[in-house]
Symmetry: C2
Subunit: 428 residues, 2 copies
C-alpha cells in the first residue's frame, strides 16, 4: 500500500464504459475510495462519543463454547430451501452467495440436493464395496479408509441444474445466491480413489464405475474410470472437519470440476463395469434435449461461469460514487484465467483483479472498482479459463441449446442498476 503518486493519476481514468476503473487501484491509496458518500459524516461521529461505552462493555461477556455458532444478527444468512411439498426430503437448498465473501463456503451453508433426504448414518456400520470387474472385491469400513494416505483439494461442486431459472422467458427476480447458489466451494480431504482401485485391480474391460449412495433411493450414476483414476477423492473431511450429514457423511465421492450429481454422497458401492448403468439421473434427468431432437448426455465437466455477487438484486446503491464490484468465477476445465466486467451492458469490458491463490476447479474471487454516475447501468461479468472456455452471452447459449433447456446453464448474468440504486435481473 502506498499513496497515489502523480504518475499513477491515469489509473483514475476509466478503463471501460460506464465508469469501470483500473483494477490496480486496489493496490493504491484509500483516498480514492474514501471520497464522497462512502465516508460517515461528522454528525455521525459526534453522535457517539468514544467514551460512551456500549452495554456489552459494561459486564463480562458470554463464556467459551465447545462449538461456535454464527451471531444471531446474521440469521438471514441461510440456505434457501425448495423441496417437494409431497416429499419434503426431495429438493434443493441454495448457498447464499450474495452474503458471502472470499472463496470458502462454510460447510453449514454448502448447497444441498437430496433425492430422498439425508440418511443419519452410523459410521461404524457403514461399508464401501468395490466390486464388479475387479480382480479382488474389497470392503472398507470407515476406520479402514481413515488409515489410507490422504490428499486435500480446494474445489467447487456445482449442481447440473444450477442457474436453470436462466431458461425462464422472463428474468427471475431473486437474490443472486438463490438463483446461482447450487454451487459451493470447500476444502475436501480424503483418500485418492486411484489408490483403492489399484488395490482392487481393475480388469481390462472396466471403463466405468457405477457409484451408489446409501440414501433411501440408493442414488446411482456412472463415472468414467479415467476420471476416477485421475483426481477423484473419497472425501472424509470438508473444511477441516469430518463431512456434515447433508454433504455425504461418512464418505463422499468428489470429482473436481464435474457435475454435482456425480459427487455421490454417502458412498456405499463402486461397481466396475464395461458400460454405464443408464440410471434415472443420467437418462431421464441430467441430460439435455437439443433443438435438433438429439440429447446431450454425460456432460460431465461444468462450464466456465461467473456471477457478480455485490452489488446484486436485493441490495441498493447509496447514490453516485465509488463502489467495488465483486463476484465469483469458476470452471470445471481448470483455472480461471481472466474475468472481465462490463458496466455498459456488454459494449465494453475491463479485466477484474483475481484474488490469489487462483486454483484449478475452484471458486475465484474477482474485484474491480467502479465509479457510478447515477445513470442507469447494466453490470455483467464473463469468465475465461485456461483451456479456452469462455462464458457465453445468454443469446448465444439459447441459440446453441434451445429455449427449453434445464441443465448446464452458464450464460453471462446481467444486473440492471436503476437511478434509485436498486438492482434487478435483466436479459440484456
Amino acid at each position: 500500500m502506498r499513496k497515489l503518486a502523480q504518475s499513477d493519476s491515469d489509473l483514475l481514468s476509466p478503463v471501460a464504459g460506464g465508469g469501470l476503473l483500473d483494477r490496480r487501484l486496489f493496490l493504491k491509496t484509500g483516498l480514492v475510495f474514501g471520497a464522497a458518500t462512502l465516508l460517515p459524516s461528522a454528525a455521525a461521529a459526534s453522535a457517539q462519543p468514544i467514551d460512551a461505552k456500549p452495554p456489552w462493555m459494561l459486564r463480562p461477556g458470554a463464556p467459551f463454547s465447545n462449538y461456535g455458532e454464527p451471531s444471531p444478527y446474521e440469521n438471514k444468512t441461510i440456505r434457501w430451501i425448495a423441496a417437494n411439498a409431497k416429499a419434503p426430503a426431495n429438493g434443493i437448498s441454495w448457498t447464499p452467495l450474495h452474503r458471502l465473501e472470499g472463496i470458502i463456503t462454510p460447510s453449514g451453508l454448502h448447497f444441498e440436493r437430496h433425492h430422498n433426504g439425508v440418511p443419519q448414518i452410523e459410521p461404524a456400520r457403514h461399508r464401501l464395496l468395490i466390486h464388479g470387474l475387479v480382480r479382488k472385491p474389497l470392503f472398507f469400513s470407515i476406520d479402514d479408509l481413515l488409515r489410507y494416505p490422504t490428499v486435500s483439494r480446494l474445489c467447487f461442486i456445482e449442481c447440473g441444474g444450477n442457474s436453470n431459472a436462466g431458461w425462464h422467458e422472463q428474468p427471475m427476480q431473486a437474490a443472486a445466491g438463490y438463483f446461482h447458489g447450487l454451487a459451493s466451494c470447500s476444502e475436501w480431504s480424503g483418500v485418492p480413489l486411484a489408490v483403492l482401485l489399484e488395490e482392487a485391480g481393475l480388469e481390462p474391460g472396466a471403463t466405468w464405475l457405477i457409484a451408489e449412495g446409501a440414501d433411501a433411493i440408493a442414488m446411482n450414476v456412472s463415472i468414467p474410470v479415467a476420471k476416477a483414476m485421475d483426481d477423484a477423492i473419497l472425501a472424509l473431511y470438508q473444511n477441516g472437519e469430518r463431512l456434515r450429514p447433508e454433504n455425504g457423511y461418512p464418505v463422499r465421492l468428489v470429482l473436481p470440476g464435474w457435475e454435482g450429481v456425480l459427487n455421490v454422497k454417502w458412498l456405499r458401492r463402486l461397481h466396475a463395469a464395461e458400460a454405464p448403468v443408464m440410471a434415472r439421473n443420467e437418462t431421464a434427468k441430467y441430460t439435455e434435449l437439443l433443438p435438433s431432437g438429439k440429447a446431450r448426455q454425460f456432460t460431465f465437466v461444468m462450464d466456465a461461469k461467473s456471477l457478480i455477487t455485490h452489488p446484486s438484486p436485493g441490495m441498493s446503491l447509496n447514490g453516485a460514487g465509488l463502489y467495488q464490484i465483486t463476484g465469483l468465477a469458476w470452471s470445471g476445465g481448470g483455472k480461471v484465467s481472466r474475468v472481465e466486467v462490463s458496466a455498459d451492458g456488454g459494449k465494453t469490458w475491463a479485466a477484474a483483479a483475481l484474488q490469489e491463490p487462483v486454483l484449478p476447479q475452484c471458486f475465484t474471487r474477482f474485484r474491480i472498482p467502479w465509479r457510478w454516475s447515477g445513470a442507469p447501468a447494466i453490470l455483467k461479468s464473463r469468465a475465461f479459463d485456461e483451456t479456452g472456455r469462455v462464458q457465453p452471452e445468454r443469446s448465444a447459449l439459447l441459440a446453441e441449446r434451445g429455449s427449453q433447456g434445464y441443465f448446464h446453464y452458464n450464460a453471462i448474468v446481467s444486473w440492471a442498476v436503476a437511478p434509485d440504486g436498486t438492482i434487478s435481473h435483466v436479459y440484456a
Copy 2:
C-alpha cells in the same frame, strides 16, 4: 496416479532411519499401502452382504436445513475449554487439531482466548474510531466498512501462549490439539487497514496504533504502523461468512503471521501515537523473562513450527505395517519451505510432501509414508520457512530462553510409539 513401475522400486527403500519412505510414493500405486493389516479381511466382507441394506436406506432421510451441523457421531470433535474457575469468561479453548485434516479450521472450532468473555455486539450500534495523530479522525459503522474494497487472505492465527506446556518439566500427556491447538487457520476477508489509515491521514510522528476491543476489559495492545500499512486486514468475514461472535464479530483486526493477542477482536478503536501504550498484555503478559534477567517484548512474528497430528497421543497403531504420518507446519515469517520428519528420534530426517497450495503465513499440511517395524520409535517433525527460520530442538530453545518460559514455545515435538502401538509425548 499410475502403477509402480520396476524402475520405481527403489522408492520402496527407506529414505531415513526408522522406516520413513520416499514422499513420492503417494503419487504412485496403492499396492504399497494396501498391503498387510490395512486391508479388511475376507471375513469382514462376508459379514455384510451388499444386499443387506442398513436401516437408513429403508425410509426417507431427514429434510433440508437452513444451516447445517456436524453429525452427532462426531460430538467428540470439540474445542477443549480451560477457563478461570472464578471468572469463567477468562481463559482459552483449543482447536482439536488431532481430529482435523487439510488446512482450514472450521469457524466453530477456531481456538478462543478471551480476557473477559464474548460480547454480544449489535452490529448497527458498533463503531470503529480512528483518531490520535491523524489529520482527520474518522468514525466507521459496519455498514460503512462493508462498502470499502475488500481483500481475502488464508492465514493462521496463533496465541503467543500456544504449546506452553512444553516448558513443563515433565512432558504433558494430552491430545495434540489440546496441547498445540491455540492455533487455527481461516480465510479472512475484509478491508485493508491501509486504505482507512490513508483516508484518516497519519501525522509524521505516528508510528504506533493502539488497538482496543469492545469487550468488557477493553483489551488493548500496540501495533507498529508499518505492519498496519503492510498487510493488516479489518476482517468482516471468516471462512466466507461474517465473523462468529467469539472471533470478533462484527470486526476483527487480522495481522497475518503475528502473535494472536495483536489480532484484536471486536475492534472499536485505533489510536495513532508516537509510542506504544505499554498495556497489561504487552508488559505483564505476552513478554518473556530471559535467563539474563532481561525480557523479550514485542515479539510479534510467530516462529516456524510444526506438529505431527497423526499419529499422535490418544491414537493407537494397529501393528507393524505401512502408515501415513501427517501434520501441520506454519511460520509467521512467510511460506513453509520444507518440513522434515524423523522416525528415529532425530538421528536421521526425510523431507515430507507438502500439500499445495503452500501459502505465506498459512497452515501447510505435510505427509510422508512410514513402514513401522513394530519396534519402539520416536517421531518428530521440524519446519523450515523461506526466510531461513528453522524449528529448534527443545534443548536448544531452553538453552536460549531458559526453563521458566511461558510464551512463544516452538520447539520440535516428539511422539514415542510403544510396541503396543500407543503414542505418548516425550522429551527426546
